[in-house]
């Protein structure tokens, strides 16, 4: 190791590609022709740009803010809301003016200003970030493990709600980790992941209600069913790449949902399946009376016990997903997934059966989706096809991509931000003071969700945590910059 010049390693940029990119960017900044002389002052320019933006916003929102159609007597009524429209035009004007006048510099693209400094990802910083990442991971794990008790001591009045929210977030973390195997590691863009979630939920629900089986018996079966479906749906799409794969998996997800709706005598049709049993702890249920958890341990009954129990089940399942994924990454199969993401043709040239590699990725991801689905079913006690729409797939995919493909910690962050953050909105009653008492913040959840997806992606196209850490090390672990890591097929 001593033969290496240590400074050379330190001075090394994140990659030849990046260097190229930088060169290109500098070149872009220097056109071969003399730049046009700036004729207008900053104020003039800012005003002009602000006016333009305001005009665009006016055009865009005219039919949505100024006019609103509503069903009235004898047809549609038109409600005019000019003030609302003008307010938004004014907001657009002001925002753009501020941006143009104070932030924007001519000749520089806005996205360049938004993007963070590239030198920040030097190898040293990356190594530091990795340790930070590990520390954050441990802290989060500790918090997760003690969360119900923290809540009980700190915020007992909100315990039910908060634990329920934590369960929801953890469900998405688990789904995100499951999908991360398919999208993040194997680089197969799957927009129909919710299909496996649905298969898991329905297989559990149907097994439990028809054959009177308990949660713990059904859970592995549901996972296996989902994995089987992963293979069944994975097989035909093996040859597809990139966007095509995405759209076919989306179609499969929708097909499964339509079948669930219409196959009434088995799946209960649009009404779904009711009366799904709750999980038990070694045969102890969480109800009142004889043979229940509280009875057995001689503690007073509290409905919160069930929530805490459910919380630990999903935490356990999520951690299992994480553990298995991390473990698989270091095994040949996981390395083959990543190699597939990097270059499928090279994989074939090395004797890897890419069909198997893809199918195992699909099946493994689907299995965890199936587990999560079972949990969802037992938690709700009721499922219907409505819970398994495309939007769910989109949310899970968004979590994986926003977190940073392949990053386990990133999925956690993204879930907390997207699911938790959106949920918080429900409680921003302060907004009612601004917009009037009939303002319902929950209405805006998905609206803001969509905007956040766009915003975060534009801000960080590689996601929150984008570096990759190698799965096998010869001597020294070095973090690999995101610019070197491929995203999968058809790039």
């Amino acid at each position: 190791m001593s033969a290496i010049d240590p400074t050379a390693v330190e001075a090394r940029p994140e990659g030849a590609q990046l260097k190229n990119e930088e060169l290109r960017e500098t070149a872009r900044g220097e056109p071969p022709f003399a730049p046009e002389p700036i004729l207008e002052s900053r104020l003039q320019r800012s005003l002009r740009e602000a006016a333009l933006t305001a005009a665009v916003v006016a055009g865009l929102t005219l039919f949505f803010f100024a006019f609103r159609t509503d069903i009235g007597i004898g047809g549609l009524d038109l409600i005019l809301q000019w003030p609302l429209w003008f307010v938004w035009i004014a907001i657009a004007f002001a925002a753009r003016f501020v941006l143009s006048y104070f932030v924007y510099v001519p000749g520089r693209k806005l996205s360049d200003i938004v993007k963070r400094d590239k030198t920040a990802t030097s190898p040293g910083a990356a190594t530091g970030a990795r340790w930070l990442g590990r520390a954050v991971g441990v802290v989060m794990l500790l918090i997760a493990a003690t969360f119900p008790f923290l809540i009980e001591t700190l915020l007992p009045s909100q315990d039910r709600y908060l634990i329920d929210l934590a369960i929801l977030i953890l469900t998405y973390v688990m789904l995100g980790w499951g999908l991360n195997i398919v999208v993040g590691l194997a680089g197969l863009l799957d927009l129909g992941y919710v299909a496996f979630y649905a298969v898991g939920a329905y297989s559990f629900a149907l097994l439990a209600t028809n054959f009177d089986l308990g949660f713990w018996v059904c859970l592995p079966m549901a996972g296996l069913f989902a994995a089987g479906w992963g293979i069944v749906l994975g097989f035909p799409v093996l040859r597809l790449r990139g966007d095509y794969l995405a759209i076919v998996t989306l179609a499969f997800g929708e097909i499964i949902r339509v079948i669930l709706i219409n196959w009434g005598n088995i799946t209960g049709g649009p009404n779904g399946v009711l009366g799904i049993p709750k999980p038990t702890l070694f045969g102890l249920d969480f109800g009142r009376g004889e043979g229940s958890f509280s009875d057995f341990f001689g503690i007073p009954y509290s409905s919160i016990h069930r929530f805490i129990f459910l919380y630990y089940i999903i935490l356990l399942l999520a951690l299992l997903t994480n553990f298995v994924t991390l473990r698989l990454r270091k095994l040949p199969i996981g390395r083959a997934w990543e190699a597939l993401r990097e270059d499928e043709i090279a994989c074939r040239a090395l004797g890897l059966n890419t069909t198997n590699v893809k199918l195992t990725a699909f099946a493994t991801g689907a299995m965890f989706g199936g587990f999560a689905g079972s949990f969802f079913a037992t938690r709700q006690g009721f499922i219907s096809p409505e819970s398994f729409t495309f939007i769910e797939s989109a949310i899970i995919l968004a979590i994986v991509v926003l977190g940073g493909l392949g990053s386990q910690l990133g999925v956690v962050f993204a879930s907390v931000v997207m699911i938790g953050g959106i949920e918080l909105l429900r409680h921003l009653t302060i907004l009612q003071a601004v917009f009037g008492s009939d303002f319902d913040p929950t209405q805006y959840r998905m609206l803001i969700f969509g905007l956040a997806m766009v915003g975060i992606m534009v801000w960080k196209p590689r996601g929150l945590i984008s570096s990759r850490s190698p799965s096998a090390i010869y001597k020294e672990k070095k973090v690999i910059g995101a610019d070197l890591v491929a995203q999968g097929e058809g790039h």
């Binding site: 033969a3 298995v324 095994l331 040949p332 390395r335 010869y474 001597k475 690999i480």
Partner: protein, 336 residues
Amino acid sequence: MSQTPSNLAAGPAASAAALDRWHDDPVLSVEHLTMRFGGLTAIDDLSFSVGRGDITALIGPNGAGKTTVFNCVTGFYKPTEGRIALRRGRGIADETIRDLTASGAQHGRDANGEVFLLERMSDFRITATAGVARTFQNIRLFGGMTAFENLLVAQHNVLMRASGYTIGGLLGLPGYRRAREAARERAIYWLERTRLIERADDPAADLPYGAQRRLEIARAMCTGPALLCLDEPAAGLNPRESAELNDLLKYIRAEHDVSVLLIEHDMGVVMEISDHIIVLDYGKKISDGTAEQVRTDPRVIAAYLGVDDEEVDQVEEDLDHEEDEAAARSATGGAR
């Protein structure tokens, strides 16, 4: 079966026939290979053999169909016609291959070894079972993975079996642990051989160009091949790196039981290390023999210098009727 249809071999090469391993002990025999893409015939009835333990070079002007031959041999293309037989073992009877062809199977064996009919096999199986490894003209490394990881991926099949198809690996069984250590050893061996050990933990995309070329060869070697196919390994290398590459290939041939088939434009590399050179032009073989034979072949000179068609005809006539050695030799200097 191993008779190579070459008008040239009948002439001056006849005396050297005893030395021609590609006649006596071929590892790969390509017969009547034809590849058409729509109306375009990229390879036209091409036959050649690669001698066991030889370094064989496939040369020819751009667009001659060299890479297409590679893609047929390694299964990335399914040839329109022809047979590509890989013989693992010396002296496999021609009947064995004939029977195998008739039987429709991919793979057969006789007392002397195994035969694989590559044109019937899928690409990954050619590497995994027949033992043909390849590199690519435009390097195809797993850029986001380290050099070390790249070499481990190449040992996937061995490791996969050892890990009991993941189950044993998940449980951490000792069999897998041993296999993993062996894979590490092998990777480290090849990293050392290719002078990449210092950069073992660097992402492959970060390596300099020459190092990437070497890593690709190391990765191909990690699959444990019998035949190593290199697509322009010296492209983009500086003279020092080219010389190193020569040494590496000679080392591979000497120390490992591997035959090398390479496509190359760098005549310095080709002439120095090749035991056997096959020259393609417009999908046809125009010359086949040792470096010396090919160098003096007027057809090769004509193809490389791009003389007029009449001149080619003229040259061919010359060759057929009178051996105008002097003229050919004086032109050789120009060709190089």
